[in-house]
Assembly symmetry: C2
Homo-oligomer: 387 residues x 2
Amino acid sequence: MGTTEAWKKMREVCVLGVGIHKFGRWPDKDLGDLGREAILMALDDAGCSPKDIQAGFGGRVQVPNTAALRLVSEVFQTGIVIDNVEKACATSSTAVRLATWAIGAGLYDVCICVGAEKMERGLLGAVPPGQEARASYAQLMGLGIMPGEYALRARRHMHQYGSTREMFAQVAVKSHRNGALNPYAQYQTPVTLEEVLNARMIADPLTLYQCSPSTDGATAAILCAREVAHKYKGKPITIAGWASGTPAYEPVGVGGDVQEGFIPRLAKEAYERAGVGPKDIKVAQVHDAFSAGEIFAYEDLGFCEPGEGGRFVWEGKSEINGQTPVNTDGGLESRGHPMGATGIAMLIEIVRQLRGEAGPRQVPGNPKVGLQHNVGVGGCNIFIYKK
Amino acid sequence: MGTTEAWKKMREVCVLGVGIHKFGRWPDKDLGDLGREAILMALDDAGCSPKDIQAGFGGRVQVPNTAALRLVSEVFQTGIVIDNVEKACATSSTAVRLATWAIGAGLYDVCICVGAEKMERGLLGAVPPGQEARASYAQLMGLGIMPGEYALRARRHMHQYGSTREMFAQVAVKSHRNGALNPYAQYQTPVTLEEVLNARMIADPLTLYQCSPSTDGATAAILCAREVAHKYKGKPITIAGWASGTPAYEPVGVGGDVQEGFIPRLAKEAYERAGVGPKDIKVAQVHDAFSAGEIFAYEDLGFCEPGEGGRFVWEGKSEINGQTPVNTDGGLESRGHPMGATGIAMLIEIVRQLRGEAGPRQVPGNPKVGLQHNVGVGGCNIFIYKK
């Protein structure tokens, strides 16, 4: 029996409630302060009490990684199983996937997922001063850290497909315009194309506004079996499909296209499991850790043809009122990217959009299907949600 | 539908192959060197090739926690989903549980689980020099770190039940005698009761030999659906039952018994799911991070009555040829305790015992049912295996 066949035989799983602590800089709060607010908001949104929750999944990226245990048990202490997971920037979407499996398999009816992070300032993954002798040659050349990797792929995209630096910058313009409409976003100020292009260069062609910031924040989601959702006041949104995987081996030096080959494969699996296609997606949250990543995602997820991603954003097709609205909450760049919390933040925005509760940034036309694309070092989780 | 009922409807899951890198101090090896050896041994034992593996689960406790991703993708690079989990000393048994769920639910037929750790010297969790201002009052009094916590409970056990320091020490005598029969153990030298009692005092009544050491090591296990096991040469051992949970809230100052109240509850669940009782257990690996913990485990798991644990070991009932052989591979104290690898090390010993492959430490009488009890900070995983 294949994974897709098994998935289709599982119980229907839905998101019953969501909660978030405003993303930003919270020097006077600890992880518990952030997580507690998100968890209590999710319980209230779902209409659940702690005793209804049968299992917890979650995590943070930085140490100690036992965030789920600390956050959930602090609020509940009901004796439930609580698992900590970690998949870099795809940490809390991994928690959601594990909860989805457990509920779908019938082991639990109601689970909570949490993600939280407090981040230091500065470039993540850079070689610390004094540690040069332990760095790889790639790191010393500025690779092996994220801005360099995305910038190289962006340059290749420009060379191969004729996309322009203005197109990459336009992603940040859109993100910050959307983020200004999101009261939970870290940055709520629109920026112009000129401001983005003239900002400090981080890794050519990516300027400051095209890079996700360091952020503190927390998110929570309560999932349940669709068949028990009627017991609670939360408005259920179904998890219709998912896919997860890692890049397959590619021999060094072979080069090739700028697409991350494994994501189209996962997207195909997720669409198949959900019984929809790219044209059905009416709202999407994709992993724009850097603006170029959003353009690659358009192509990887089939919103446009390979090479057309730059023009896709330039022509407004990913705007809130466009063909496929993307990162309507400001995305990683404007909403912020507290690594362990980001996966559930994406889920939250899709839930709000499908419920019609997104206020000034609501996608028009009563969207019924949303997609989430959350990439962490070495892996990716895709989810498709249905109203 | 309850968890137990759902579990009984799942597909039967078994352990198909196991692998281990000898535990000890490996200053010249990195995590990859350790993990690779364990993974390749497990593949060979199972008779699988990397392309047969459909998902991976695992982790380490220390940063970076993405051990599963690094270890599995380094060996395989086949594009499979790989999840990193962390539950302190119960990390790799959590990986096994998640793989069990995924296979039981039909999502995957064959999964790999890995655990690995390289540990620093010294007392884990102690307040680092210069960090006293950030420590809790409990930490400054020697609590909040493991030897202190176990020692307090041991003293309470002595007071309440009349157990003696010799009984606690006897656990270490048994462990080291068994470890001397295990070529993968960190310490393979027997110790006498007098040596244990006269060793350096760590936290009264626990002396050095009664405390698990810091260890480097790695372990791997390949799990599969029972219905596909015939395709491979590995000798399958069934995962008959499991339970997992966290301590429920107890108001501060209420005191009470020395047993960790939540573990008897989990044991009851595991026995129910496996359809066996404590008397059926013919080999057990329990969490003897400190000798007192093994005595508590005898009682928590129903091998003896509450308060009888000290006499249980003193009378030889947990010896290899005793009523319920416990920690036949040397346990955490003698085999070693590389935190992230320990959960699967316990599984490996039970698999070897149930297969009849444990050599000089083989439990006599063809044991058919084994139990694993793996405790991490804030949680516990119990598994019951059947031949």
